[in-house]
Each structure stands twice: as structure tokens, then as C-alpha cells.
């Protein structure tokens, strides 16, 4: 599924290196993927690459890359990407973060929006909206696989089936899960301090949500949206936690219309 002009480069940064996929041309669209792994080879990215220069780093630990020895949690990823954005000299970039990539994007944006002009969050985790005994975000490390598929997808038939994967693919899925765990284990999938910092986001923000997302529900999305000054919300029907996969047309439409 190689897109036009697709190119992966390894960029050396202080203390770590990161693989970055670049494709297309135009305004920079900086995509931070979620816990499921890199998205740069997916059809929705090829579509976006028709209008933007997609810049999609692979979080260390995903897709067979190594977790740097000193990495402990999501903060390490945030600082890695602050360095990466400087190294790439991004200007007026649209930062799009999916799920835990959305959390990462918010952490970056509350520190500095100097290199970004707009922010898009997709079924993003990162904050706690309920009480201490409310399960805001399903426990992906405790849910049975079939329940996880039901929560994650609008149509659970879209869930990848281990029986149809090669050993190498399945090993990568498991390695991705280790990285997801490292970045999100505790506090689980959120930073308690983040809501008190979101007022610092001073760029237009779009919050996109799959209507059927049971992992992080649209109500969570609405609560998150309300925490960010001026943020708009777009709900995509017939989509779960990955609207970009289940409804790529609607997803691309929302992104391009918000960007213009």
C-alpha cells in the first residue's frame, strides 16, 4: 500500500532516534499515531498526502523499533517530538494525534504551539473526565480480546485476527503493546495535570470522534473538547475508535475542511 513519494528516514536526535515517514507535499501535517501502531501506510494517509506533506514519526518501540533505555513514560515521547519538530524546522504545521498520539499532541501543545497552526485530536485519551472510580477509558490491558474488539470497532469484523497474521506480524503487534504499556500504564492513559494546562492551547482545535467508540466514548470526547478553548467537535457515524480506518472518506473530509 505504498503511497506516492513515500519515504522513511531515521532521524537522530539527542538521546534517541526516530523513524519518520514523509509523503506528499503541501502544508505540513504532523501525524502522531495511536497504540495500534503506525498509520502511514493506510489509505487515509495516502488521501491526505494528496493535499499535505504528511510527516508521520513512529513512536520508539512501535513497528520493530527499539525503546531507548532511558524512556520511562509518555513525557519522553513528548520531549522527543519537541526535538523532532525543531530538527525538522516545522512551521505552521497541522498536528494530528490519534488516541495516545492525541494525548501526546496535547502535551506538546500545552508546552508550545510555536510550530503548529492547528490541532486535530482523534478519539484521544489523555485526561480524566470522571470520578476516581469511573472507568473513563476501557482497560485495554485487562479486557478479553473479543470485548476489546467490540469496544474498539463499529464493526468488530474489522478487528485484525491473529489467525491471519504471520508470526512476524503477530510479534510486532505484541511489541507495539509493550510500547503502549510503557507510555500509558500509570496514571492509566492520562495525565492528571493536563486539564489544568489545556487553556494554553491557542490554536484552532478540532476533536474528531467515532460515534461507536466504546473504548473512549463520544461523551468523553465532548468533555475533552470543552476543556480546550474554542475547540470544535466532529462525530463520525458508523465508526469506532479508529474513524480514520472505518470511515476514511468522512475522516479525510473533516480534516481537509478544517485545515482550509
Amino acid at each position: 500500500m505504498a503511497g506516492n513519494n513515500r519515504q522513511t528516514t531515521r532521524i537522530e536526535l539527542p538521546g534517541a532516534s526516530v523513524d519518520v515517514v514523509r509523503k506528499g507535499s503541501g502544508q505540513a501535517l504532523f501525524i502522531l499515531h495511536g497504540g495500534g501502531g503506525p498509520v502511514a501506510a493506510m489509505p487515509f494517509v495516502d488521501r491526505l498526502a494528496e493535499s499535505f506533506e504528511v510527516i508521520a514519526p513512529v513512536h520508539p518501540g512501535f513497528a520493530g523499533s527499539a525503546i531507548p533505555d532511558h524512556f520511562d513514560n509518555l513525557q519522553d515521547l513528548v520531549f522527543l517530538y519537541l526535538d523532532l519538530m525543531d530538527a525538522l524546522e516545522l512551521e505552521d504545521a497541522i498536528m494530528l494525534g490519534i488516541s495516545m498520539g492525541g494525548w501526546t499532541a496535547m502535551e506538546i501543545a500545552v508546552m508550545s504551539t510555536a510550530r503548529i497552526s492547528k490541532l486535530i485530536l482523534v478519539d484521544s485519551v489523555g485526561v480524566k473526565v470522571g470520578g476516581r472510580e469511573d472507568r473513563d477509558i476501557a482497560d485495554v490491558f485487562a479486557a478479553p480480546p473479543e470485548e476489546l474488539a467490540r469496544l474498539f470497532w463499529h464493526d468488530p469484523a474489522n478487528a485484525p485476527d491473529p489467525a491471519h497474521m504471520t508470526d512476524a506480524e503477530l510479534e510486532m503487534v505484541q511489541a507495539n503493546r509493550v510500547a503502549l504499556g510503557l507510555y500509558t500504564w500509570q496514571p492509566y492513559m492520562h495525565n492528571p495535570k493536563l486539564p489544568g494546562r489545556l487553556h494554553r492551547i491557542d490554536v484552532p482545535t478540532l476533536v474528531i470522534w467515532g460515534e461507536s467508540d466504546g473504548l473512549v466514548t463520544p461523551n468523553y470526547g465532548r468533555a475533552l473538547c470543552a476543556m480546550i478553548p474554542g475547540a470544535e467537535m466532529a462525530i463520525i457515524p458508523a465508526a469506532g475508535h479508529s474513524p480514520q480506518v472505518e470511515q476514511p472518506d468522512a475522516f479525510v473530509r473533516h480534516v481537509t475542511s478544517f485545515a482550509s
Partner: protein, 410 residues
């Protein structure tokens, strides 16, 4: 040979296994009846004391949120036995250091047990099993490094006698550490660590700690013990003494073969009961991605349930020694020679619904008829002769490696 009596202190009075998805982590504790539970605890304490009376040492452990072992705090049971027992060594195997938040607390608890027992504590440190990452809320990734850092802090707490020190590690921070009491044994109680691969055995050998292997059986024991012995030889310039290695298996000794089969099958509850689904037995970073992938595919059991939990299969694998005294002796001797020798036999002598009387009879027969021969076996140990004996025993091949021991393969 030193033999240790071990029971996990299970709560076996459970509803039908088909009515629940997991015996660990999320099985509702409404199924735990406190009256029955109290009877169980007292019976298990009596069992350990019975073992002591038979000249057998005591082994204890802890697990969390599981009916397979209702000792979520092993220092409590060890503290009772430190007072109630008189001569037996008390082995805790072990303190799950990766999952415990405060190593200094562990250092204090262990020192206290050592003092009350007047120096009878053998202190084990383990990484912990996969299913307990949720109860502990600790990601298992880098669990081994975490365990060793906690170990370093505990050893320093045990051996610092001139006032406090501070510790600022990667995972653990402690301020003004100055434990009271200090250990009875000097410089500190003997240390044991469970090992599941040649790689994890090496640092244990370098420290001269006892390396304990659980249920690796014929398919797994050689590379692990060989790894330990190679690490020991490289660091210390001599062969590892037998007493540095331990093997844990299920043991049931009976007067005749019919009773052996019946009791052995009852004891097998330890394996057949361990129903754990994939979401609990494969937490991120516990297993290497290749092993985790196999568990996700279902081709090996990460839950600890062996793919073939039958008496015959587990005996063939060397995970269960079961029969008349002569038979049990021959079974232990066979894996002893196959593995290159070990000086500690950790006996899961009770599990599930095996009664006090059955357990007592089994341990009596062991003590009277098997144990003396095992002691002779190790007393006559000759390192060179053992190497020759072992060399002529070919590797035993097993087509499926989905053994109980996957959770210990670290």
C-alpha cells in the same frame, strides 16, 4: 539433599470451573467463605508443622487476587511459623520484588522473621507472575531490572549498621534507611531467586544465591541449570555446589500404585485449576514478543495451564513425582542425574482437595523411605562422575513445549 514442603494455601472450594473465566484477578471473592477460609489456614499451618516434625523444611510463597493461593502477604504466614515451628528452615519463595512498592518494608519484614525464628529464614526474591501486574498495577516491562534494583536496596538495608543511608534509584527511592531490627543471620539471610532461563540464571549464580527452577521438567531444566553452572564457574572459578540449585515439582508418595494414581490426580489440581485467560497471562512486557505472540495465537499456554495436564504427561515431563517410595526415588534420581544435580527438592506436597491425612501419609513415606536415599545420593556426589553420568543421558525430546513453566521463562 534438602527437601522442602510447600503448599500454595489454595482455596479449592470453588464453583464449577465452567462458570468463571479466570481463577485469578477477577474471580469475585463472594466465593471465599470466611469460615471455610479460616479452617483452611489452620489446616495449612498444621501441615507445615507436620512437615517439620518429619524433618522436612518449610517453603512458603505469596500470590494476589487468586483462589490458587490465598496468601497475599507471605510475611504473615512466615511470621506465624517463625514462632510456631522450632527447627525447620523457613523458605519464602518468594517476595515478588518487581511488584512490591517499598523494598525497605520487605527488608524490615524479612529481618523481623529472621530474628523471631532465631535465624531460620531463607529469603527468596522473585519477579512475580504475569497475572499479578494488574493487582500490583506495575507494568512487567523491565521487571527483572526492577527486581534487581529492589534487591540491591534490601541487601544494603540488611547490611548497613552504622546509621542511615539514602537510595535514589531508577524505580525506588528511600530516605534515611536504618532498619530495626537488623537480620539475625550475618551478614544476611541466605538468598534464593527463581530462574527460568540460562540468561536469568547467570546473575543469580554470580551472587552465589540459590537458583530455583519451577516445573521446567525435562524439556527445560538442562539449559537453565547449565546456565547457572556456567555463570558460577566463570565468576567463582569452581563448580557450583549442589546446594546452590533447587528444583520444584509436585510430589505424592503412596503405599501402593492405585493410591498413588488417585492422590497424584488430586494433587494435579495445582495445574488443572489454573484457568487464566489471555488478557491476564500476557501483560505487556512480561514475555518477550516472540513468546507473547505464541500465547496470543494460543500455541503455548502462558496461563500456566499445561497443554496436557494429565498425570502421565506431567510425570513424563518431570513435573510430578508420583508412586510408591521406590518409584518416587527412581523418578527424582532420574531427573537429578539428567539435570546435572541439585541439592534442594521443593515439594508441592499438597494442592487442591488433597486432604491433611493424604498429605501426611505422603510426606511420612517420603520422609522415611525416600528422603534418606536422596540424602545419600547427594552426600556421595562427585562432580566429575556426575558430568559423565549426565553426558551419556541424551536430551529428552518433547514435541510440544507448552509446559507449565512459560510464566517462569524469563
Amino acid at each position: 539433599m534438602k527437601a522442602w514442603f510447600f503448599t500454595e494455601d489454595a482455596y479449592p472450594q470453588l464453583p464449577d470451573q465452567d462458570t468463571y473465566r479466570s481463577i485469578r484477578v477477577n474471580l469475585p471473592n463472594k466465593h471465599f467463605d470466611p469460615e471455610t477460609g479460616a479452617d483452611n489456614y489452620h489446616q495449612f499451618l498444621d501441615m507445615w508443622l507436620m512437615a517439620e516434625d518429619l524433618g522436612i523444611e518449610i517453603m512458603l510463597n505469596e500470590h494476589h487476587q487468586t483462589a490458587t493461593c490465598v496468601v497475599p502477604a507471605v510475611p504473615i504466614i512466615a511470621g506465624i511459623l517463625a514462632r510456631e515451628s522450632k527447627t525447620a528452615r523457613i523458605l519464602i519463595l518468594g517476595n515478588p520484588l518487581s511488584n512490591l512498592p517499598r523494598p525497605v518494608r520487605t527488608a524490615e519484614e524479612m529481618a523481623m522473621i529472621d530474628v523471631i525464628s532465631r535465624g531460620r529464614l531463607e529469603c527468596g526474591f522473585v519477579r512475580g507472575v504475569p497475572y499479578e501486574s494488574a493487582p500490583a498495577n506495575v507494568i512487567p516491562y523491565r521487571g527483572t531490572e526492577r527486581m534487581w534494583e529492589a534487591h540491591d536496596l534490601i541487601i544494603k538495608a540488611w547490611t548497613s549498621h552504622d546509621g542511615p543511608f539514602n537510595f535514589e534509584g531508577r524505580w525506588f527511592h528511600a530516605r534515611q534507611v536504618n532498619i530495626w531490627p537488623r537480620p539475625y543471620q550475618q551478614p544476611h539471610p541466605p538468598v534464593w531467586v527463581t530462574v527460568g532461563s540460562a540468561g536469568t540464571a547467570r546473575p543469580v549464580a554470580e551472587h552465589e544465591y540459590v537458583g530455583a527452577v519451577f516445573l521446567a521438567g525435562y524439556p527445560g531444566i538442562r539449559p537453565i541449570f547449565d546456565g547457572y553452572r556456567a555463570g558460577y564457574l566463570a565468576r567463582h572459578g569452581k563448580d557450583a555446589p549442589l546446594d546452590r540449585l533447587a528444583y520444584c515439582a509436585l510430589v505424592y508418595v503412596a503405599d501402593d500404585e492405585a493410591e498413588a494414581k488417585s492422590g497424584g490426580e488430586t494433587l494435579l489440581w495445582y495445574m488443572t485449576s489454573n484457568k487464566v485467560p489471555v488478557e491476564y497471562n500476557n501483560p505487556p512486557g512480561y514475555h518477550s514478543p516472540p513468546v507473547a505472540a505464541k500465547i496470543a495465537r494460543g500455541s503455548v499456554s502462558g496461563a500456566g495451564v499445561p497443554l496436557q495436564p494429565t498425570l502421565q504427561n506431567q510425570m513424563a515431563r518431570g513435573n510430578m513425582f508420583c508412586g510408591t517410595p521406590d518409584q518416587v526415588y527412581e523418578q527424582i534420581k532420574a531427573i537429578y542425574e539428567y539435570s546435572g544435580g541439585f541439592g534442594n527438592l521443593l515439594m508441592m506436597g499438597q494442592a487442591g482437595h488433597l486432604t491433611f491425612q493424604q498429605t501426611k501419609r505422603s510426606m511420612q513415606l517420603f520422609s522415611r523411605e525416600v528422603y534418606p536415599r536422596l540424602k545419600e545420593l547427594t552426600a556421595s556426589h562427585d562432580s566429575d562422575a556426575m558430568k559423565e553420568t549426565r553426558a551419556v543421558l541424551p536430551d529428552r525430546e518433547f514435541t510440544d513445549l507448552g509446559t507449565f513453566g512459560v510464566e517462569f521463562a524469563r
